[in-house]
């Protein structure tokens, strides 16, 4: 029997650009053309001023560790506990949930506000997930 798989995101028309971006190795955010608000998760209008004139752009992929838990139990399918579930504050402002890779999953190693950079992990042929690792240098 196959190993239970990690929950797989299913893009919608409004989020397709984000998932196309991760496939192409880019973290894509949206910016309002009217008020310059940068926001996430994706939607085709600005949640701050309601303008429908918004643009997709490639984000820096840099951020810092805002908060996290280290989940022990119950573990989600496809995960081996303990594993950290993190919220990353991107340099552009929005926050997103992710996992921290290339780092021990311990309170000592996972320091709040540590600098992070995006890393892309292929889930299958169609979906690549945005992960984060401690920033180099």
């Amino acid at each position: 029997m196959a190993e239970p798989a990690r929950a797989r995101p299913k893009p919608t028309p409004e989020t397709q650009h984000f998932w196309d971006g991760t496939q192409a190795g880019e973290l894509r955010l949206q910016r309002c053309d009217a008020c310059a608000n940068v926001y996430f998760p994706p939607r085709p209008f600005c949640p701050s001023c309601a303008s429908r004139k918004v643009s997709v752009f490639k984000a820096s992929g840099k951020g810092k560790l805002y908060s996290y838990v280290i989940n022990h139990r119950p573990a989600a399918p496809g995960f081996t506990p303990p594993y950290a579930i993190a919220v990353v504050e991107l340099d552009e402002g929005p926050r997103m949930m992710s996992n921290i890779i290339d780092c021990p999953q311990t309170p000592e190693a996972l320091e709040l506000d540590m600098k992070l950079e995006v890393a892309f992990e292929k889930l299958d042929d169609k979906i690549t997930l945005p992960m984060f690792r401690p920033a180099k240098g």
């Binding site: 929950a7 299913k10 996290y68 989940n71 119950p74 989600a76």
Partner: protein, 379 residues
Amino acid sequence: MRKKQVAIVGAAETTELGVIPNMSQIQLHADAALNAIADAGLKLSDIDGIATAVETPQQIAHYLGITPTWVDGTSVGGCSFMLHVRHAAAAIEAGLCKTVLITHAESGKSMIGKLPRSIPADSLQGQFEAPFGVYGPPSMFPIPVLRFMKTYGITHEQLAMVAVVQREWAAKNPRAMMKEPITVADVLNSRMIAYPFRLLQCCLVTDGGGALILTSADRAKDFPNKPVYILGTGESVETPMVSQMETFNSSRAFKVAGPTAFKEAGIAHKDVDHVMIYDAFAHLPLYGLGDLGFMPHEETGKFIADGHTRPGGKLPLNTNGGGLSYMHSGMYGMYALQESVRQMRGIAPAQVPNAKISVCHGVGGMFAASGTIIFTNER
């Protein structure tokens, strides 16, 4: 909404709480409803308004044989019942109905007749949270707490004291699931669930239910039990995605619902005799005390650790033992309301002497929604 125009005239929990393997979820609703109707001295045919969450109002109305003229199916998580109380009070005042029944029940432990909760893969949660390993409330609800602790200098020991103090209240309550005294060391040595939270900082998983009956204050004096008047109400929602909260240093939904209720009640914090703050996890009372304006957030951990919320303390909090020690079937808001009503009636197992004003604050989802009800037993 005007103050003290509507009252709770019936309140009851299911006959049993805890593990109830001989009853389905809908029957737990009925058991609580029939107990509340008996408590109010009413007949089912007297009920003309119905509200419930998760289960639909039509399921409960049909099962009980009720024909309502007013219906509320607001389902925003564990504080749904606070919102039902608020909506019902407005409906009674507006003349849409006279006597409202609010029910909650969940076969949270035995899982009999309970629909599974699932997150669609194409929802925003399914795309932007589920792939990163969130799996049920213990993996999600504590995500903000490390940031909260760093911002305000809250310690692990203070967060352990939340569980210790609530166990002291539970010890006085024969219906509490967990009554054995615990220490800070017990909490900090209990099994790790999702760092920084351990087993004793996470709510119980049980079966049970509760129901409330509301009517106008003018009619309320004719009922068998002491009426409990609604003094102030508030509600709000923020986001179903914990990762997308405006800040982890407070809950926007709390900061809207709580102060709205205080303003409506026209009371100051020093007037409050008794507080319930929905404690799905140990950090919630700290967020609640801060966001509702009882004190600055940075003082909340010390306030609890210093014993001010324990039996005999100046601000009795979660006097039934809370979701951590009393019971938690999945949507605990109903049990917080039941305890506030018992305190206002003067019949709680751990009664606060001469309590006249009770604040009951609920959370829905992972800080997704909030409702606050302020009660008084004085007309």
